[in-house]
């Protein structure tokens, strides 16, 4: 019983910190994304960048700026990867092959941070610091920008469809929100033992007379933004299970808080931007319900330890660290898969069948509970539109949300959004299980092998980045295909959301009437959670049945 109580206490501490932080941070996010003035340092930056931060953009221009920035990011990262051997601080690492460099570039630009390579062996300090970590910041800021643009779409009425300025949103999110928080978190992590130096790896003689390499690297600065920006790409192969990334149980709790912090604060920002805080509370309630359910289920599965090997060993400790144990590993696994972070402090491939299934479903929900920075909230708003549409169908009224009528064009955009991710995941998985190059990647055959493949495409299509790492993903086949999955899974939904934002900004608000469905009530929260689960359920039940479900039953 005491193990259960400490597990609950552990979750309780994380919840308390988030409960205390989400309001002030949400208010701060609101002030940041609605600011009318620039900081001096920002103004200086805009001058060097030669961009105009005050020119309001229509959705198509906003999208073009976003895509232009992302393309430039992919090209620079691809170049850095291809030239890595020639860079300073490369530590003798080789340059990445074209497919590998493509995959990594797309992976970090799309906030996925899927990694086919092993950080300590394949990535030099400069590539990590000036390439990958920069994308950790800006890819999160892109998500923040998109959700701010969407909120403006709801808030504005009858305008010419302008939804903000991408460059200003990008720079503000980075400079005012992510950078200061990451800085503080990085120093806290160093204090606890996360390394922060520019040293190379070198051999020492151990106490027992063997040899072992001591590793160096600017790890803490990258670790902080990796969690805060819901990125998840580890400095080392073992990611947040590596003691130099996550040395103690309290750094583990800190990292869980960091990866949940902004996604759980954004509903507050949204509520204030659309002028109705109750809407923010309702979204927060739906997100929290799903997250708490996943944490509970995953923790139960890992602590109960069902399955052949866990029963034989007396617990599900394969692929887990002693300092974390089952409970802290399960808390991390649920949080990382439901925030699109994809950092891991345990090896998900070795989770129990039930626990691994929850992690997989956490991603397949579309990363909305609470989801990635920005992407979680705009995904949830899309599902809200689906929910009010369904409710409208039931009572025979034109659906509306936040005073905006949901017409044919709006629901078309939303429907396309909802279909994109499942299409990416299912088509990608179907291709991989149909060709030898895909099947060869499995470490284990049978249902678990299928889970490895589906998990990979679910992770890529939802921009999560965690893996059933037994899959040999560093092949040209997987690097290319998963790169495509990440690209489509990120930018098609963003384009649809911005198009929706543009339409909403130009449409007029309709006054609330007796027939308006209130969207801040517990009833609506229940409907929203149900819609989220039903959409996923209908789409993925067949493939889940062949993977984790079969495995759970055997």
């Amino acid at each position: 019983m005491s193990a259960t109580w400490t597990a609950i206490g552990q979750v309780g501490i994380v919840v308390l910190v988030l409960a205390a932080a989400h309001r002030p941070l949400g208010d701060y996010l609101f002030r940041t994304m609605t600011a009318t003035t620039h900081l001096a340092v920002e103004r200086a930056g805009y001058r060097i960048m030669r961009v105009d931060p005050d020119a309001e953009q229509r959705w198509s221009t906003y999208l073009l700026s976003l895509l232009g920035f992302s393309l430039a990011s992919v090209l620079v990262l691809f170049g850095l990867g291809r030239l890595q051997a020639a860079l300073p601080l490369s530590l003798g690492t080789e340059s990445l092959d074209p497919a590998g460099a493509w995959n990594t570039a797309v992976s970090f630009v799309t906030n996925t941070n899927w990694q086919w390579y092993s950080g300590e062996a394949a990535a030099g300090h400069l590539f990590q610091m000036a390439g990958l970590a920069v994308q950790n910041f800006v890819s999160a800021a892109v998500g923040l920008a998109v959700v701010a643009a969407l909120a403006r779409g709801f808030a504005r009425s009858g305008t010419d469809g302008r939804i903000g300025n991408f460059w200003a949103d990008l720079v503000r999110g980075t400079v005012r929100v992510l950078l200061p928080l990451a800085f503080v978190a990085a120093l806290a992590l160093v204090a606890a033992g996360v390394i922060q130096n520019l040293g190379a790896h070198s051999q020492i003689t151990t106490l027992a007379g063997g040899t072992q390499a001591v590793l160096g690297g600017p790890v803490a600065s990258q670790e902080a933004i990796k969690e805060l920006g819901t990125n998840g790409g580890g400095f080392f192969n073992a990611n947040s299970a590596h003691p130099f990334e996550n040395p103690t149980p309290w750094t583990n709790a800190l990292e869980v808080v960091l990866l949940l912090l902004i996604p759980f604060s954004l509903p507050r920002m949204f509520g204030r931007m659309v002028g109705d805080r109750r809407q923010g509370w309702a979204i927060l309630a739906a997100m929290s319900t799903l997250w708490v359910a996943a944490v509970g289920l995953l923790t139960w599965a890992e602590m109960a330890g069902p399955g052949l090997v866990p029963v034989a060993a007396g617990g599900a400790m394969e692929g887990k660290e002693v300092r974390f144990g089952e409970a802290a590993s399960a808390l991390f696994a649920a949080s990382t898969t439901m925030t699109s972070t994809g950092a891991v402090n345990s090896m998900h491939d070795s989770l129990t069948a039930q626990g691994g299934g929850v992690a997989l479903v956490g991603m397949l929900l579309g990363e909305v509970s609470p989801g990635g920075v920005g992407s979680g909230l705009y995904g949830m708003v899309v599902l809200i539109v689906v929910a009010v549409f369904l409710a409208g169908l039931m009572v025979g009224r034109t659906p509306e949300y936040l005073g905006k009528k949901i017409g044919r064009e709006e629901i078309t955009l939303v429907a396309l959004y909802v279909l994109t991710m499942p299409a990416v995941v299912l088509i990608g998985s179907a291709v991989a299980v149909s060709v030898p190059a895909g099947l060869e990647g499995q470490l284990q055959g049978g249902p678990h092998g299928l889970s490895e493949i589906v998990y990979a495409f679910a992770s890529a299509g939802n921009n999560n980045g965690s893996a059933f790492a037994g899959l040999t993903a560093g092949t040209p086949f997987y690097n290319t295909l998963l790169g495509l999955a990440m690209l489509v899974g990120r930018f098609v939904p963003i384009a649809l959301v911005l198009a929706l934002a543009g339409r909403l900004a130009s449409s007029r608000k309709v006054p609330e009437s007796a027939g308006t469905l209130p969207t801040h009530t517990p009833l609506f929260v229940g409907l929203l959670v149900t819609v989220t689960l039903v959409v996923v359920g209908l789409t993925f039940v067949p493939v889940l049945s062949l993977g984790p479900v079969v495995e759970s039953l055997s």
């Binding site: 109580w5 206490g9 552990q10 930056g45 060097i48 229509r58 198509s60 221009t61 700026s65 895509l67 232009g68 430039a72 092993s118 062996a121 000036a130 920069v134 910041f137 800006v138 720079v171 400079v175 950078l179 800085f183 120093l187 160093v190 390394i195 130096n197 020492i204 151990t206 106490l207 027992a208 072992q212 390499a213 600017p218 600065s221 080392f236 192969n237 299970a241 003691p243 130099f244 149980p249 309290w250 709790a253 090997v309 034989a312 060993a313 617990g315 400790m317 692929g319 660290e321 002693v322 300092r323 144990g325 409970a327 802290a328 345990s346 070795s350 678990h448 889970s451 037994g470 130009s506």
Partner: protein, 217 residues
């Protein structure tokens, strides 16, 4: 660069769309380069600078010398308190099984990634159980789970207090020490949960073996 497209205009030629996109990409490149200077250089170097002054020992990897002292120079170090290392001889406390390279290879941190129904993992668990039973002279049922399973990183610096306790008799015998003295070392090295609820109780293997080592010399 913010040439916007009026919604009423029916169509743009593909050519001017391309021009607009190239212009935005060029702007994106300039923005990325400025942000890279801030986020990719100034930020990590500032954190490094402060870390080197405020937390030099931690920033260099929590290294310790053979006498158990905290050092920042690798030349004086026998390891990091945060990183597990191999201890094979019977005179040492043993760490967990490791899937990092040949075991505790820091250049290849990894778990086994074997699933809960995997037959070869099942066989490995059975083999590890017999080895521990033979080595420590205990019952099959008394082998703790962390002795039978590989960690996530392959570099787990800790074992459970239970696994440390089952090794006490052997280590004491091999080193000619009393079991009470060795058990006292284990108790000293045992750390509880952070804040009473975070994580799990644990024993740092290098710290424990360093205590043995300095005791012996």
């Amino acid at each position: 660069m913010t040439a916007t497209r009026p919604r009423s205009r029916p169509r743009y030629s593909a050519g001017s769309d391309t021009v607009a996109f190239v212009r935005q990409t060029w702007a994106g490149l300039r923005v990325l380069l400025v942000l890279t200077v801030v986020l990719g250089f100034a930020y990590p170097l500032a954190v490094t600078g402060i870390a080197q002054i405020a937390f030099p020992w931690q920033a260099h990897g929590s290294l310790v010398s053979s006498t158990g002292e905290r050092v920042t120079s690798r030349d004086d170090a026998v390891g990091s308190l945060l990183i597990g290392q191999r201890f094979d001889g019977p005179q040492w406390f043993h760490p967990r099984p490791s899937a990092a390279g040949d075991g505790y290879d820091t250049l290849a941190s990894a778990g086994s990634n074997l699933g809960p129904l995997n037959e070869s993992l099942l066989a490995a668990v059975a083999e590890r159980r017999s080895a521990v039973v033979e080595q420590e002279g205990i019952d099959q049922a008394d082998v703790p789970v962390d002795a039978l399973t590989a960690s996530a990183s392959g570099l787990d610096p800790d074992i459970s207090p239970e696994y440390a306790r089952v090794q006490v008799a052997r280590v004491a015998r091999e080193r000619g020490l009393s079991t009470d003295d060795v058990r006292a070392l284990v108790d000293d090295a045992t750390i509880g949960r952070d804040l009473g609820v975070l994580g799990e109780p644990r024993v740092n293997v290098l710290r424990l073996n360093l205590a043995l080592h300095t005791m012996g010399s």
